[in-house]
């Protein structure tokens, strides 16, 4: 009688080089599910207060989701979590690829590293052995090369690797962890934590079986979900761009059904938004200064979905994903192929810096993946540098002779190459815009667009105020994956859980900016649901299809044998959110101080473009959001008794 | 060797509808009987205010929710117990047993005794509610059927029975 999870985690002490297994009782899974929840529970208890993120006390964990490998769909994502050096708060990043089942097949629901190793090492686990091995010959290699060498060294084609590149080794605070030759877990600067511990990679090739409570029910639900994924309507390449223009023009907005976005994802992947978002005002342009006027249809034409699709050799599916939004594109120049750049990468390196040249974007995408640096933060840093240069804060001498002008793709490419090698201006920018602005001074803070240190992703709060709420109120600031007004519409949670606000099929755009309590409830439900999804290893693109079509809660019940209602799962999500916020409070973070610059909130509002005249009133919605979780509405901190619940005896 | 197939249970829609209509009508009849018949009124006085009683069929079946509001008025609160404050539940295990009860093959006491119906809440109020239920059945049904539904057919005067029956049928059926 299986339970879906393995019941054990592995603790590796890099200072002493010891490996210790720890069994996790069933009650913990019943409360925190797995993945993000389990990581939050364990790290909250095991990382001492105000530990140095790059010191030995910080603990980094690699965790699969509970549903990974159980026969459910969209559940192949894995989590890496630690105290974030970039924001000083709870840091986590999640990524697809095929590493998640590999962790579980080694028999673990999580592998955690503490301490610092004297010399570079990597962890090797297969069916028989688990040990730390010397990684000095791989140290210095870029992520893709290191991965190929490690797989060859392991002698089996099925080995899965997660490793850091140069950026991580050089402790760049915006570096991440790469797997499958370029799938990135980039946010919260987790790569720097691995770099600080001298941990180059984890190499896994386990063979354990994953047992499930009710396999037939899992298949029944998966076939149901597959039916919706396979439903496809032919879509012309320029359709998204046209739709963007229409949505900008219309005064009212339509509640989105996830199936439309699913069909676009299945045909083009996330790049389908390359023209749609800038046109409707969802994408920030010219370091959040510009508007859809500056990045018109002609400028975004060079990276419109059809063009990207022409370069795509083959579609790429993450583990257990029937949708397949990824792809491998061929490239001219030094590197022959790269993972299809995501919408965030194209806009960060394109629209944000007004860089029209698609080839430079492809090349930058590949070198950033190889270096293991987060493409969003790199683009944001470049845009920040261009604006400082434009306003004279940075002179030609500071930029080692680079002409940092909007759209000068050659200069931007060289700047990012310098950032990877930490040379000159690159060393300044390699730790994110917040640290760079502090070092430069001279009023550069106003151009540094971030939330609590994390560079903002390519979704403009002025277009969907939900983003502003989730950028600032979440325990992990500056993330677009946790919730927004649009996400609540597509999740359709009110169809499975009782007492949730319904969304009108058609409503005026102005309604999005009202600060009534319903917005807070929607935001809170988003966060709770995404906590459960991230703990089960789920991918939000799958969940967009709709709660009644892709039934995550039924999968959880069938895999574990529990009999929990959707309301109980959302309550578990609330529990997980509260632990992350308690982690922040324990490490001295003041939630009310995490804000975004006024430029993002539309103060003063823009005079042209799609978000003309839009301002976002954040405070009332944020305190209502916090009280939804039972935290203190002013300070955003959970009550001490609530925090005491999580400390294990 | 045998072969295996899962059987996903079907819903008995006809029986559900029959019960739904019957419970709807009985519920309204109880509300009116509380006004018309003083014996029923006395029974309801013994039940505290803001107290809801539900005769519910597990797992999806219709329900009969009757209750007293704050100011003591008897109300028929519809046929579903979702998000209502229910103080006393009389739960029927499944729809077949409810059919036995409402086609009078078993009287209320007999189905209670055969553990088809069990109580979750204060017993004295349940006893009062069963007496009300029996009184309404005597009003609504002709003697030969009512005898099956009730343990002891009360010796009411003919006038009282007829007048009550007319009022209830009129008010419950057509009236508000």
């Amino acid at each position: 009688m299986g339970k879906g999870y393995m019941g054990k985690v592995l603790f590796v002490d890099l200072s002493k080089g010891e490996l210790k297994e720890e069994t996790i009782p069933d009650e913990v899974y019943q409360k925190y599910i797995g993945g993000m929840g389990l990581a939050a529970y364990l790290l909250y208890n095991k990382i001492p207060a105000n530990a140095d993120p790059l010191g030995p006390d910080n603990i980094i964990g690699f965790l699969p989701g509970l549903l990974t490998g159980t026969g459910s769909f969209f559940t192949g994502r894995w989590m890496v979590a630690a105290k974030s050096p970039l924001t000083g708060s709870w840091g986590d990043a999640n990524c697809g690829g095929s590493l998640s089942p590999a962790i579980k097949r080694c028999g673990y629901d999580g592998i955690f590293f503490s301490g610092i190793s004297k010399k570079p090492v990597y962890l090797y686990i297969d069916h028989h052995t688990k040990e730390l091995r010397d990684a000095s010959e791989y140290w210095g290699k870029d992520a893709v090369e290191a991965e190929e060498m490690l797989i060859a060294a392991s002698g089996s084609k099925k080995t899965r690797v997660a490793c850091i590149g140069e950026a991580g080794e050089k402790l760049s605070l915006i570096s991440g962890v790469s797997t499958d030759k370029g799938r990135m877990a980039g946010r919260s600067g987790i790569g720097a934590v691995m770099g600080s511990k001298k941990l180059k990679a984890i190499v896994l090739n386990g063979k354990k079986r994953i047992q499930v409570h009710d396999k037939a029910e899992m298949k029944h639900l998966s076939k149901l979900a597959n039916k919706f994924v396979k439903f496809q309507v032919p879509l012309p390449n320029l359709m998204p761009g046209m739709a963007g223009i229409l949505m900008r023009a219309l005064p009212n907005a339509m509640a989105q059904d996830g199936m439309l976005y699913k069909m676009m994802l299945r045909k083009w992947g996330t790049v389908s938004m390359n023209q749609l978002s800038p046109e409707m005002g969802d994408s920030p342009i010219k370091n959040w200064m510009g508007s859809s006027k500056d990045w018109g249809f002609s400028k975004s034409y060079s990276t419109h979905p059809g063009k990207i699709l022409k370069r795509e050799k083959v579609k790429y599916h993450c583990y257990s994903c029937p949708l397949g939004c990824g792809g491998i594109c061929s490239m001219k120049g030094k590197y022959k192929e790269t993972h299809k750049p995501e919408y965030e990468t194209v806009l960060a390196l394109g629209g944000l810096c007004m860089n029209k040249d698609a080839d430079s974007i492809f090349y930058l995408n590949e070198i950033l993946n190889r270096a293991g640096m987060d493409t969003i933060s790199a683009g944001a840093a470049a845009a920040f540098a261009i604006e400082c240069y434009e306003n004279g804060i940075l002179t030609k001498k500071d930029t080692d002779g680079l002409e940092l002008k909007w759209g000068n793709s050659k200069a931007i490419t060289q700047l990012i190459e310098k950032m990877i090698k930490r040379e000159g201006i690159g060393d300044l920018l390699a730790d994110g815009v917040k640290k760079a602005a502090e070092k430069i001074g001279k009023g550069a803070e106003q151009y540094a667009i971030h939330a609590g240190g994390q560079e903002l992703p390519m979704h403009d709060a002025r277009n969907d105020p939900g983003f502003a709420l989730h950028y600032t109120a979440e325990p992990t600031p500056g993330r677009h994956t946790l919730g927004a007004g649009l996400y609540y519409e597509m999740f359709q949670l009110w169809k499975v859980a009782k007492k949730l606000p319904k969304v009108l099929p058609l409503y005026m755009k102005g309604a999005k900016y009202k600060t009534d309590n319903e917005k807070a409830v929607m935001g809170a439900t988003n966060s709770k649901f995404m906590s459960v999804v991230n703990s089960a290893g789920g991918c939000k693109f799958g969940m967009f299809i709709g709660a009644k079509r892709v039934r995550l809660f039924d999968w959880l019940n069938a895999a574990t044998g529990w009999n929990k209602t959707p309301e109980e799962y959302l309550a578990m999500g609330e529990n997980i959110q509260t632990i992350k916020q308690s982690f922040n409070v324990k490490h001295g973070i003041e939630p009310k101080n995490i804000t975004v610059s006024d430029r993002v909130l539309g103060k003063p509002f823009q005079t042209e473009g799609a978000n003309k005249g839009r301002t976002v009133d954040l405070e009332p919605v944020r305190s209502a959001y916090w009280s939804e979780f039972g935290w203190n509405p002013e300070t955003g901190k959970p009550t001490p008794e609530r925090m005491a619940e999580f400390t294990n005896p | 060797m045998g072969e295996y197939k899962t059987y996903r249970p079907k819903r008995k829609i006809l029986k559900w509808l029959y019960l739904y209509v019957f419970m709807w009508f009985t519920g309204r009849a109880i509300k009116i009987a509380a006004k018309v018949d003083d014996e029923v009124k006395k029974e309801f006085d013994s039940i505290p205010n803001n107290f809801n009683v539900a005769l519910e069929v597990l797992p999806y079946g219709p329900a009969l929710v009757v209750g007293k509001t704050e100011d003591g008025k008897v109300q028929y609160l519809g046929s579903s117990t979702k998000d209502k404050k229910i103080d006393l539940r009389m739960i029927v295990h499944n729809i077949e047993n409810a059919m036995q009860l409402f086609t009078f093959q078993e009287s209320t006491a007999i189905s209670f005794m055969r553990n088809r119906l069990y109580l979750d809440g204060e017993i004295p109020y349940a006893a009062a509610f069963v007496r009300v239920f029996d009184a309404v059945e005597v009003y609504l049904l002709p003697k030969i059927i009512a005898k099956l539904a009730v343990k002891r057919y009360p010796a009411w005067s003919l006038i009282r029975k007829l007048s009550g029956r007319v009022k209830i049928y009129l008010r419950a059926g057509i009236g508000v």
């Binding site: - | 006491a109 005794m113 109580l119 809440g121 004295p124 006893a127 343990k151 002891r152 009360p154």
Partner: protein, 416 residues
Amino acid sequence: MYLPEYCEFLSPVQIASGHHVLEKIPGFLKALNAKRPLILADKGVTAAGLIGIVEDAIKDNVQIGAIDDDVPPDSDLKVVSRLSDVYRKNNCDAIIAVGGGSVLDTAKGLNILVSEDADNLMEFAGANKLKRPLKPFIAIPTTAGTGSELTMAAVIADHDNFIKILFGSRFLLPDIAIIDSRMTLTLPAFFTAATAMDAMTHAVESYICLQKNPLSDAHALSAISLISKNLLNVIRKPDDQEGRLLLAKAATLAGMAFSNSTVGIVHTLGHSVGGVCGVPHGTCMSIFLPYGLEYNYHLVNPFIAELLFPLAGPEVYADTPENKRAEKTIEYIRQLNQDLHDATGGRHARFLSEILNRDGEQMVKKSHFDAIARISIGDGTKFYNPEEIDYDDSMLVLEASWDGRPLNRNLVKKNA
């Protein structure tokens, strides 16, 4: 033989009976893989020295977690939560309850708290709220009569807001019930008579009420024959161990019978009189038993007739003609009450006005009748009585049983 259209029977409690059964408890604990039991009792039990007997029987091969004996006569929420702390502090893993109904009910409540490791009992109030078997629980009844070691219900009072909370679930039943003759050896004659009549009423009523079914009838018949054969000579010779054991077994059999075929009017009135005037349960039972039979006479007299055989034995049964047997049964029971009245020197009351408390006043007065009647029509056992009971019916029976004259049967309201 009576074959109903539908019936259920369940008595999943292991019964270990005999003279030296207490010594076997360590074996039972090991079978239930428990090592540190908590022994529960009430003041009366310790006063009678029964706790000493139990302790010596198991002391040398089982470590006793703790012994706690201040359980009040009617169990209470606060007592249960206090006991759960005692249980947890001594990390016990099983409960041994020694005593009557209230101790067993408290033990059931305690078992809910410690097995679900909750701290608010109210979450589990009502029927079928428990989902899993609880921790091991051994019951040692010391009053051969209540049979509460075999019922699936537990009633725990909440004295702050004066309500009685009912818990009903199959998992409340003890794993094992120990019937040891030493437990009832020192029970005084008056209590023996009262509890034995309580058991007799359980058996008789379970035979005539609506939930009558073949298995509970068989248990009831053997219970009645055991009690009627042994009661009087146990009263006369209290230290007769064999008789005590048979009476205890009869009480358990009656408990099995009535927990599947619930009792009727005698208990309806008995509970109300006990509630209003605080009269011991056994006494009310023996008084109302003949009246209960007379009240339901017109519906169940063939069954009453069948009771004559176990009650009076084959000779009397053969002598009385077919149609007179029901009358004879009722008269025999009245005669039994009379003999008990004489044997206990008048303490065993034959009718309501005779019930006296320790210092001799009349416990039940005519002024109580109204309150008793009103409460009785709300009692749970009322549903199971063959004939409907309303306010006037209970008043009629109370009046009749005030001075012991037989009930005038044609006054009883029949099906119009």
